[in-house]
Subunit: 360 residues, 2 copies
């Protein structure tokens, strides 16, 4: 309401009364449903949504309550974008690169092969143009996005046989996510799309020869080490994959300003908290895996080089053919390149020296 029409309707007495004793505004009661793409057995990755919802509730005296639903409970794990777009649920928590079938541009909000590490991703999102550019892209889906979780650099996965060179990759049937799968295809790998719960039996039976999942903490739980001893790294297709909170635009616009601010900071808190959880829990899990006979091995150099080259070709194709990709990629790649130059200096030299220490 404009001030002029307010004066007209309320009269001077009304205005004075409002000025004299500021109105007690009740905090609005709001309930949202959050659909996660993850099973609740993954305490770190699924847990980030709980951390978020819990903090929002505490920060609003319980007035803004977000119930968190595991993948499949309300909608299928990969149905969450449609559900948010249509307003079936107010929000979801997912890994954007699951939706490269809709548009490969989704992956720039998550991870692409040879992309950014976790810190670089956060810097691009929060202090570069990342949040601005991805938000423009998501308007097509009625989505407002918030970075909410990162696993750090993932492992390359579990291989039944060691990989000595690029030749060993040819013909391998590997469970791997879709963007990376396209790169793997160019190396002669036969990528397979298999839900998390079915990976173990497939690997055990030899239906597949290799599978990637996340990293030591999550992988240990699923027991892959029992049926494939070679744990190869790094997951060059996800150097710092970011999860997102997607909020339906209409639901977002209906929030009062204070709740909007609370959602933003609670999502940032969950973002850093999930990365911290992985950084805190992976070391012990890795030690346990090695204790159980797992063989750690970096990818051979020729595999890395071939994968890098194939990735550049795919990026070039997308820049020619996909208008959404083209709007974001140049900014993304410049930021990545600049940041890598800087990380080579103080950050890398510090880390590298610490890696040479004999630490009990």
């Amino acid at each position: 309401m404009e001030r002029r029409s307010f004066v007209k309707q309320a009269g001077l007495a009304g205005i004075l009364a409002a000025g004299a004793a500021p109105a007690v505004v009740a905090q609005q009661s709001i309930r949202w449903r959050l659909a996660s793409s993850f099973p609740n057995s993954l305490d770190t990755i699924f847990g980030a949504a709980n951390v978020f919802a819990q903090r929002v509730k505490e920060a609003t005296n319980g007035k803004f309550e977000i119930t968190v639903h595991a993948g499949g409970e309300l909608v299928p794990p990969f149905g969450v974008v449609d559900a948010v777009q249509q307003g079936t649920v107010e929000c979801c928590h997912t890994a954007p690169y699951y939706f490269v079938g809709k548009d490969p541009t989704f992956a720039l909000d998550c991870a692409v092969p040879f992309g950014m590490n976790a810190r670089q991703t956060m810097a691009w999102m929060y202090q570069g143009n990342g949040l601005k550019l991805t938000r423009e892209f998501y308007t097509q889906y009625n989505i407002v996005n918030f970075p909410m979780g990162n696993t750090g650099a993932q492992m390359g996965g579990w291989f039944r046989k060691p990989i000595h060179s690029l030749a060993d990759m040819k013909g391998l049937k590997m469970r791997i996510s879709s963007f990376a799968g396209k790169v793997m295809e160019r190396l002669g790998v036969v990528p397979q799309n298999i839900p998390g719960g079915d990976i173990y039996p497939s690997l055990e039976k030899g239906t597949i020869d290799a599978a990637e999942w996340v990293g030591p903490y999550d992988d240990l739980k699923l027991g892959f080490y029992k049926v494939a001893k070679n744990y190869i790294y790094p997951g060059w297709w996800e150097g710092g994959p970011q999860l997102s909170l997607y909020v339906n635009t209409k639901a977002w616009n209906a929030l009062p300003a204070d709740y909007k601010a609370i959602v933003e900071v609670a999502a940032a808190n969950a973002n850093i908290n999930m990365l911290a959880a992985y950084d805190a829990k992976n070391p012990n899990a890795l030690r346990e895996l090695v204790g159980r006979g797992v063989k750690l091995q970096p990818f051979p150099k020729d595999v890395m080089e071939a994968a890098y080259k194939a990735t550049q070709d795919i990026f070039a194709d997308l820049s020619r053919t996909n208008a959404n990709w083209k709007k974001i990629y140049p900014d993304w790649v410049k930021f990545r390149n600049d940041d890598i130059l800087w990380f080579r200096i103080a950050e890398n030299e510090f880390d590298r020296f610490m890696f040479t220490r004999k630490l009990a």
Copy 2:
């Protein structure tokens, strides 16, 4: 109040009424003053307190207002701990290692030589025992602490002459922070304690031979490159220094639960935001410095090794003589060591490969 006694006092009618129309609770109006240790010219490091205060204000509809004061405005930059302890101000934003004169244990909440990088520090604080242990320590100072900002690995600083070996360090007069100064002394350096604003003239006149400050973005502003061309890295004494928000215990306890939650998430948001700011702004500043003739150089290996050894000796001394240090250090060092083992694998292999790319 127990439900039983509530029923007794209010009667059934009261309960029904309460249920029918929930009481409208006004949000409490609170004003705090935050004393920063930093000048407001440092937009990243000083700016983190503004980001924090702004978010708290937005999240409470302007009801909880924290005014941010630059170093010296209310209390001297290094007087902020006393001010919070005595309740002169409700909170401050500072680098805990400024207070190693009170107790070297402060530095474990910030940075010690050859400590953790930024991600490792966050993991220890949020998902290890870091927050718990440092909070126990700070009860002696009437302080409740919150991680709030990180610069990432800093540069080693500006040297008038290149450093070819440990011998070149002997006798150097260097402006350096205090914990690191103790290590430098053991290498034959003469550490100097000089406020930020006086470094440039001292370096220009040759009163000092070297000075460390932060990293490219902040250092460029102060113009050190004009009077010392050798920019040496890494700052092995601050691989990921963390700033803290210190809140006076009484002021903290007086906050309603929702404001407490808001302070926590707003501090975490400012924490990640400041690191993102440095990661986003340092690359261009570094490029500009190199364009102006700055010579980048890593510390020679014998300097790094001697500094590492001297640091271990100091840690051992503190573990023998300082009860506060002894309560935290074993947990801190185990976490650091475990995390370094894990970071060597996927994280490092990913970064290292990206460092080998020719990026335009």
